[in-house]
């Protein structure tokens, strides 16, 4: 049996299994929840963090202090958003200092601008530990931004762990690209 046939068979089987299960009278897993499920949140959670899909405009444009958007101008260092790290390290390498300084300066000058620092790790190790490793890197970038006058309330540190890593890396050059922090501005 070729792969496509297998997949088709699998798909139809799964669909049939879903239909069959929907008829069951016993409680089973019969209602897949949509991810956009807005079921009532009864938790007393902290205010929701700014997320990247919350709007279209950047704070820079809103402030009216610039005519173009420096954050996306390819000739501006602010358009560079990625800080890479050494294996098992969270120190910001010298070559990324200018990039981090530029973003710190932008945040200091634009008090309403907010960033999410998204840490990442390579695929070696467990997913949850890598989530924490990526977090440590985003915290490291945050500290550098703080030192240069960006405020805590402008910065959220999160991690994707190894989830956005290029899988099946064969060499160090590939792993290196996965050990990074991406700087994402609110509204982007």
């Amino acid at each position: 049996m070729n792969k496509t046939m297998l997949n088709k068979k699998l798909l139809s089987s799964l669909l049939l299994a879903m239909v069959l299960s929907a008829c069951k009278s016993t409680p089973m897993v019969d209602k897949p929840a949509a991810v956009d499920d807005k079921s009532p949140n009864t938790t007393a959670t902290a205010p929701a963090a700014p997320v990247a899909d919350s709007g279209a405009d950047t704070a820079g444009v809103k402030d009216g202090s610039v005519s173009g958007n420096p954050l996306t101008d390819p000739n501006n260092i602010l358009s560079k958003r990625t800080v890479y790290f050494d294996f098992d390290k969270d120190t910001v390498r010298e070559e990324f200092r200018p990039l981090v300084e530029a973003h710190a300066k932008y945040l200091a000058e634009h008090g309403s601008a907010k960033v999410i620092l998204q840490g990442n790790a390579d695929e070696r190790g467990t997913r949850e530990y890598n989530l924490s490793l990526g977090q440590r890197r985003s915290v490291s970038v945050k500290k550098s931004l703080n030192l240069l006058s960006a405020q805590d309330k402008q910065i959220e540190t999160v991690s994707y762990g190894e989830e956005k890593a290029t899988a099946n890396c064969k060499d160090e050059a590939c792993h290196q690209l996965n050990r990074r922090v991406d700087i994402v501005y609110e509204g982007e």
Binding site: L6, N7, V29, R127, V139, T157, V158, E163
Partner: protein, 429 residues
């Protein structure tokens, strides 16, 4: 470990669930190894007066017992008689097959669209009945009933606790879609609980099996949800600033241990299952993550790099000083308790290899259960005899299982799928 494998003639079975019936396609299971003394058992096809039965109960029982590696299921087609209750068994016929045990059974219709399943187990050598059972079920409970019968046979003949009537959860990634799926322990009846274009990780069963906690990146950051498997309703358990991850349930199902980062490194917290009552458990400058709650409820074991490299530590569930638990291996991560609380399974890194290791908590002794590579996400079967974990095959994620003595190994794969983050759930009622 090498020595161990030489003792056993590797046996290979292939149970192609994909090709048996259309409604039950799912994971393909491959078994290798087995106990030196497999119990030879004859499983006579059940009498089935009800034509609507798509499932062959005897086949499901046989597959369960084979998968355990502790049984040799005998070919019964050469025997003319087809007893459906123990009183009809002519023991001499089955002694010829060298069967030590025989199971027989029957399915009949009851009023109101119900079925009656009867089953008996007998000792062929002693010519005595060991157990009989009767189940009054809805037609869609036939597979579950077969698993329960397999559990009765397994318990009676091996002395181990039940295992087959349970479910597993895992993440199935296809193209750019992540689906949290729940399937029967034999890989059949896979159903999607939640799916997203963003990653989902760390599914964790509530102790009663009615809810699953998991981490979803659907809002572009890790948030913990708890979802009911009966209604599909879910609540946001933790959505604090920073990361919310690594949920694990307390043994009484009232709380979860979780990991929050806020604006710094990952730290352990406990929270009520309704999202109230957040309490911080660890306060370190290091990474503290991957909690596992001890079955007696007193301790939370976790991964921390406070000593330089990730190792397993334990802390009182109410907080306090942490003590280191693991001392062998370069790194130890992602620990999970055995149901009896006596041992801990974990991911061990030696050199560049990540393997599954089992540590006896009283003696501190440990052994590797997998030969490694990129093995992770271990969890125990409800009876503690099998450990399910994630491995990689051909560049894709697959599931594997190993008996806690390291003798029987299984690999579960799905064509086209990339499966990771397995978790074995509790027994079904």
């Amino acid at each position: 470990m090498k020595k161990l494998f030489k003792l056993f003639q590797p046996v290979l079975f292939l149970i192609a669930t994909l090709t048996t019936t259309v409604a039950h396609a799912a994971l393909e299971i491959e078994i290798s190894g087995g106990s030196a003394q497999q119990i030879p058992i004859a499983i006579v096809p059940f009498g089935q007066a009800v034509t609507a039965n798509q499932d062959k109960i005897a086949d499901i029982i046989a597959a369960d017992l084979r998968r355990s590696g502790l049984f040799r299921v005998l070919e019964t087609s050469g025997v003319a008689s087809r007893p459906t209750e123990v009183s009809q068994v002519k023991y001499a016929e089955w002694a010829v097959l060298q069967a030590q045990a025989i199971t027989v059974g029957n399915v009949t219709a009851l009023p109101g669209n119900r079925l009656k399943v009867t089953f008996g187990l007998a000792d062929v050598l002693k010519q005595t009945q060991l157990v009989t059972m009767e189940y009054n079920i809805a037609p869609n409970q036939l597979r579950l009933t077969a698993h329960k019968i397999a559990d009765v046979i397994y318990q009676k003949l091996t002395g181990e606790g039940p295992i087959f009537a349970s479910r597993i959860a895992y993440i199935n990634k296809t193209k750019n879609r992540y689906a949290l799926q729940v399937a029967d322990a034999d890989g059949v009846n896979a159903q999607t609980v939640v799916s997203s274009s963003e990653p989902i990780i760390s599914p964790a069963w509530s102790p009663d099996g009615t809810r699953i906690a998991y981490v979803s990146f659907e809002k572009k950051k890790p948030i913990i949800f708890v979802q009911s498997l009966t209604t599909g309703q879910r609540l946001t358990l933790a959505n604090f600033k920073g990361n919310n991850s690594a949920p694990t349930w307390s043994p009484d199902g009232k709380k979860l241990a979780i990991v929050l980062s806020h604006s710094a490194n990952s730290q352990l917290y406990t929270i009520n299952a309704d999202g109230t009552g957040l309490k911080q458990v660890t306060k370190s400058s290091a990474i503290d993550t991957e909690p596992s709650w001890s079955p007696d409820g007193k301790w939370i074991y976790f991964t921390s790099d406070r000593g330089g490299n990730p190792q397993i530590y334990k802390v009182s569930a109410f907080g306090g000083e942490a003590q280191r638990v693991t001392f062998q291996g370069d790194h130890n991560l992602s620990s999970h308790f055995s149901p009896d609380g006596k041992s801990l399974v974990m991911v061990r890194k030696d050199g560049a290899r990540y393997s599954i290791a089992l540590q006896d908590l009283a003696s501190g002794q440990s052994q590797l259960l997998s030969d490694g590579g990129q093995d992770e996400s271990p969890s125990f079967a409800p009876n503690g005899r099998v450990i399910l974990y994630a491995t990689r095959m051909g560049g894709r994620g697959a599931l594997a299982a190993v008996s806690s003595d390291g003798r029987v190994k299984q690999r579960l794969s799905e064509s086209g799928g990339d499966i990771r983050e397995p978790s074995w759930g509790p027994l079904l009622n």
